[in-house]
Symmetry: C2
DNA sequence: CTGGTGTGTCAACGATTGTTGGCCTACAGT
DNA sequence: ACTGTAGGCCAACAATCGTTGACACACCAG
């Protein structure tokens, strides 16, 4: 009962410092000759393997979203992408690297600076509702972020880099923006959790308009009401 | 790419129809002689193994809460409980049965029928805040409920049997109670997700009183405001 | 004392996991 | 044509998982 943390720590992939997760040129066969930052004739080489890489990434996104980090096996991802499991290792180093590459999220938070202040809440709720339902990426991000430290880190990054700035732009007092953004995130993520992950019946049965009518005043208050 | 569902289905333990999860007498060595519903002299036998069972259950709760269903291994649970892994199998049948026994949640939702209507929101928020921080059970329930279908089913059960009735008792229109309960659950679970699982900084830094001041009006509105 | 049942340990099974190295094919540069 | 290298597959590795069966000790009834 002494060692409890390590078993949870070494299973959590590091989302930063990924061995080979960038997208340009990272075949491990190149031993030490790729020190030159730009070779003479390869900056825009078509890379015949681009299709394979994309297939792996797409399959990985689906599997991570559907099964979570632990249960999404590299073998299953490779089978979905119709290639050999070892190709995944070659292109993305290891499972953590694959996850890091596959979990790049674009939330596309709407620009609120040209929206009437009193409509911002409804706009936000409706946007995230549609964003959540157009594909399963966000559901998967949440599923992984809850169980896996790297996934949680990724979600904190999305919050800090994509949610907070958008709200800070319309927040009357800039230093209150993080708190207000967190409150809004709690309501939106909470509804997504109940509706799309836990499938709590009343939350699933609500229509878009009902949902917006209920949640928009909450988000609006978190955004513009003065601090209690 | 044809078989996608089965790999996720056979890994999800059935929370109902657990082979041997009850607590009375379920040693598999009794082959067919236990058809008598009450033996003559064993209804209150002390069961020397009660301590071991409790230790297993406590360790299982901790591990499931900390690591989620897949990463919480039976071997690790047994090591924490200081017994052999095979004992876990003997007493709880299999991993799914152990989880079913370990994930019995008591939310202890407060009785609101004697609370002034306008204070119900604050009371609810404060109760769940304290409930969440007194132990890690709820965090673990959420961590498992997101990745695992049995965990999700367990959370739906808690919602239907422990949350919904309490709110239905104070809801002016009874048939609106499920919807209102789901909205309240979305806000409370969402804040718990951001604060205790994802550790989004602004959500972690908020004090209890601030949190209540922000969230209580929301919950109050979901509870008593007329339907939009 | 003898037998039976509950309690517990040990060692192993088969399956699956992430990961690795070797080998083969196809294409581009000369 | 020849050669080098990137793309791809195959077989296997060690580790770990859930699970099982055989075996040893402790107790209680007779």
């Amino acid at each position: 009962m002494a060692e409890h943390a390590p078993s949870a720590a070494d299973a959590a992939p590091a989302v930063t410092a990924v061995p080979a997760a960038s997208d340009a040129s990272d075949v491990p066969s190149g031993s030490a000759t790729d020190a030159a930052p730009r070779g003479p004739a390869d900056p825009a080489r078509p890379r015949r393997s681009a299709a394979t890489r994309a297939a792996i990434l797409a399959a990985a996104r689906d599997r991570f979203a559907a099964d979570g980090y632990e249960r999404a096996t590299i073998r299953a991802i490779a089978r979905d992408a119709d290639i050999d499991p070892s190709m995944v290792m070659r292109y993305y180093g290891n499972k953590a690297g694959l996850f890091a590459a596959a979990s790049e999220i674009e939330v596309h938070a709407p620009d609120l600076s040209h929206v009437p202040r009193e409509e911002a809440g409804a706009r936000l709720v409706r946007h995230f509702l549609e964003r959540w339902e157009c594909d399963e990426t966000l559901t998967g991000m949440m599923r992984v972020g809850v169980t896996n430290e790297a996934g949680a880190q990724r979600m904190r990054g999305v919050f800090a880099e994509q949610i907070k700035p958008v709200l800070a732009a319309v927040c009357p007092v800039p230093e209150e923006a993080p708190t207000r953004a967190a409150l809004i995130a709690s309501q939106i993520l909470g509804m997504a959790l109940c509706r799309y992950v836990l499938h709590i019946p009343p939350a699933v049965d609500l229509g878009h308009d009902e949902l917006v009518a209920w949640l928009a005043p909450t988000v609006q208050r978190y955004l513009t009401a003065e601090q209690p």
